[in-house]
């Protein structure tokens, strides 16, 4: 049975609520007709408004409330339809949620998931399109995960709910319509582990969340030129799976990192630093990094095209940077044919990639 990412998240919530009376779900929109883009649909009627409920617009206090519930043994999942709203609760997340277990001498177990949805396109703009994975990864005591596929979403959500640590669950809005077949035979890695989405020997592409979908497209295009590209889906950002990444780059000797956040002081720098330390003498080229520039995300569709790294642009940089011999024009034509943009504005998700991943 094929399900969308959103349906997989709904399934993860449904099963967790069914299996464990301590699981609670709340946030703005959880109980309304929109049901957080459909991801919480039918859950309130099924499990009651004591366990699945709407909140007042008090994200800061509700985050502290979630922490209070967690230290009393509940497993709350709080959600933000846009990650940007979580900044109103930065005090509770950074000073309380992250540090409570530590300050209690590890007596408290804080099982708490804060789900944050990252917007993109259609004018989301400066304060509805930020991906704060690097910000929260900088805070000791928080785990940060970011799924890239529907099955990833399902497994990571369930593992996050049953984790004994607070988890920041970063979820890209453009994943919501991606589709994957439920497959119980695939053995998913655990919450800390990256997933190799595609094996190769010529180049390693490292990314997270929706960036992984873009890397898979790049890998497919380059595959037409006989370049075997390995794609790593990080899944967990804090902690990140150093050994899988190092192993891959040891083999390919070339790495490109694509971030859904800003380049400076972020994920690409962190991973590069470790790769340079570990593989300083064995990489054939410097690491190529992509991400967002140091400007707020513009609302204008025209401006946003240059703000996000485009696949055309990345193909060009990859060719020059690593000295690959493929023809750029041909590569771009292959890309556009395989994954046609739905609109000329390029500001809507392209659902051209359908699993199995």
């Amino acid at each position: 049975m094929s399900l969308t990412y959103t349906q997989f998240i709904n399934k993860a919530f449904d099963e967790s609520l069914r299996d464990d009376a301590r699981v609670l779900l709340f946030g703005l929109g959880v109980g309304d007709v929109g049901a957080v883009f459909g991801s919480t649909a039918n859950l309130q009627s099924k499990y009651g408004s004591d366990r699945v409920f709407e909140i007042p617009l008090s994200e800061n206090a509700v985050t502290g409330m979630a922490l209070g519930l967690a230290i009393q043994g509940f497993r709350p999942v709080m959600m933000h339809q846009r990650a940007d709203f979580s900044f109103t609760s930065a005090e509770q997340i950074i000073n309380r949620v992250a540090k409570t277990a530590y300050m209690s001498g590890d007596i408290y177990k804080v099982s708490l998931v804060i789900r944050m949805i990252v917007g993109r396109g259609w004018g989301q703009g400066p304060t509805h399109a930020q991906s704060p994975h690097a910000i929260f990864s900088h805070i000791p005591g928080l785990r940060v995960v970011a799924p890239a596929t529907p099955m990833d979403g399902y497994h990571l959500m369930k593992e996050s709910i049953y984790s004994n640590n607070p988890v920041i669950f970063i979820e890209h809005r453009w994943l919501h319509q991606t589709v994957e077949k439920a497959n119980n035979e695939i053995i998913m890695p655990n919450i800390n582990e990256a997933r190799i989405m595609k094996s190769g020997i010529d180049l390693t592409l490292i990314s997270l969340s929706y960036g992984v979908i873009e890397c898979l497209k790049i890998a497919e295009v380059l595959g037409e030129f006989n370049l075997k590209v390995e794609v790593i889906n990080l899944r967990s950002i804090q902690p990140w799976d150093k050994s899988t990444v190092i192993q891959s780059v040891t083999k390919t000797k070339k790495a490109m990192i694509l971030d859904t956040g800003h380049i400076e002081f972020g994920l690409t720098g962190e991973i590069s630093s470790v790769l340079y330390s570990e593989l300083f003498n064995s990489m054939s080229h410097p690491i190529l990094r992509f991400g967002l520039p140091m400007e707020p995300t513009p609302s204008s569709a025209a401006l946003a095209i240059d703000h996000y790294p485009s696949i055309e642009n990345m193909l060009q940089k990859i060719k020059i940077h690593f000295g690959f011999k493929f023809d750029l024009k041909d590569a771009i034509k292959i890309f556009v044919d395989k994954f046609p943009y739905k609109t000329k504005h390029q500001d809507q998700p392209d659902v051209g990639v359908i699993g199995p991943f």
């Binding site: 007042p56 206090a61 509940f74």
Partner: protein, 331 residues
């Protein structure tokens, strides 16, 4: 109640009077705070401390109503709340010196005192931020149908934070078993309320307007505190959130071991008013005058408590030195 106090008060039938319990509790807190103040210059307590001297009556008058399973959340000024809830002197002093034998294993210090074995769930030094957690604790108690309540001690400056209003709204919306005890000492560090609150501010109307019941009273007389809580506690236990606003006096500096009279931000008249407001002295005078206990018995009680605190301090030093010696030997 603190375990040591419990056994002390069982020794003498003259100690059965609840007012003697109140006195012993306040005296225990006072002795600890004075010891910290005295030893602070030895640089053994290596963390910021916010002493409770002058404000003890509230902690004691409220906590005497609480069971072990009731929950308390405190602020940066947490010592009185912890001890009154039954906290352990050795573990608290150990926490203040950063010892692994402390109630937070030395990771939290004075501003983050926590000990869930006595229902002391958290101390939060970011003003106002303790309330959201208290709300969550109360919602959990309600969901579990436990009949336990949650007490959140806050200061007057918490009323200037957004977290306060967000939490009040949640307390009323969810009908939670929470008692918010506002200890109004009039100051945020050095700033008097007059530079922080408009003269027209009406706390009662603010709280009631948000759907939370309100009661105001005196915070210097521990018996008054106790009586006021008696009036409302069963309502809180049946899921009616209430805010109890009590005036109090912070005798020492905001942060540190000293008096700060010389700074002049509090007038001489204001400082002298403490002579009439000291919760310990008020109660002692009353106990002696009314013949509940004699002056001699009071002195014996004070000596016992003082001695216990000093012994706890010595024992803490010895245990910590032993721990350090073992640690060094094993590394």
């Amino acid at each position: 109640m603190n375990q040591y106090l419990k056994s002390l008060l069982e020794k003498n039938s003259a100690f059965k009077d609840p007012r003697v319990h109140m006195f012993a509790n306040i005296q225990l807190i006072r002795s600890i705070e004075l010891l910290i103040s005295e030893k602070y210059e030895e640089q053994i307590f290596r963390c910021p401390v916010h002493l409770s001297i002058g404000q003890e009556a509230i902690a004691v008058g409220v906590s005497m109503h609480l069971t072990l399973n009731d929950k308390v959340v405190s602020t940066h000024r947490s010592h009185a709340h912890y001890i009154a809830k039954g906290g352990d002197v050795f573990r608290m002093l150990s926490e203040l010196i950063g010892s692994p034998l402390g109630c937070c294993k030395g990771r939290g210090g004075s501003m983050h005192i926590f000990d869930n074995s006595v229902g002391f769930m958290a101390s939060v030094p970011i003003v106002g931020s303790s309330l959201p957690i208290a709300i969550g604790l109360a919602l959990a108690e309600k969901n579990l149908n436990s009949k336990n309540l949650v007490v959140a001690f806050i200061g007057d400056a918490a009323l200037e934070t957004g977290a306060f209003y967000e939490s009040l709204n949640l307390a009323a919306l969810k009908e939670l078993p929470i008692l918010i005890v506002l200890e109004d000492n009039g100051y945020s560090t050095f700033s008097n309320k007059s530079v922080r609150w408009p003269a027209s501010k009406n706390v009662r109307e603010t709280i009631q307007g948000m759907g939370v019941s309100y009661l105001q009273g005196n915070g210097d007389y521990v018996e008054d505190v106790y009586k006021n809580v008696s009036k409302i506690i069963s309502r809180v236990r049946s899921n009616q959130p209430i805010l109890l606003n009590l005036e109090t006096f912070r005798r020492y500096e905001h942060c540190g071991p000293n008096l700060d009279d010389k700074l002049g931000y509090r007038s001489k008249t204001e400082l002298e008013s403490y002579l009439e407001r000291d919760p310990l002295k008020i109660l002692e005078d009353k106990l002696v005058a009314s013949g509940v206990v004699s002056k001699i018995i009071i002195e014996d009680l004070v000596n016992d408590i003082d001695g216990y605190v000093k012994n706890s301090f010595m024992s803490m030093k010895i245990h910590n030195n032993n721990y350090l010696a073992e640690f060094k030997a094993s590394h």
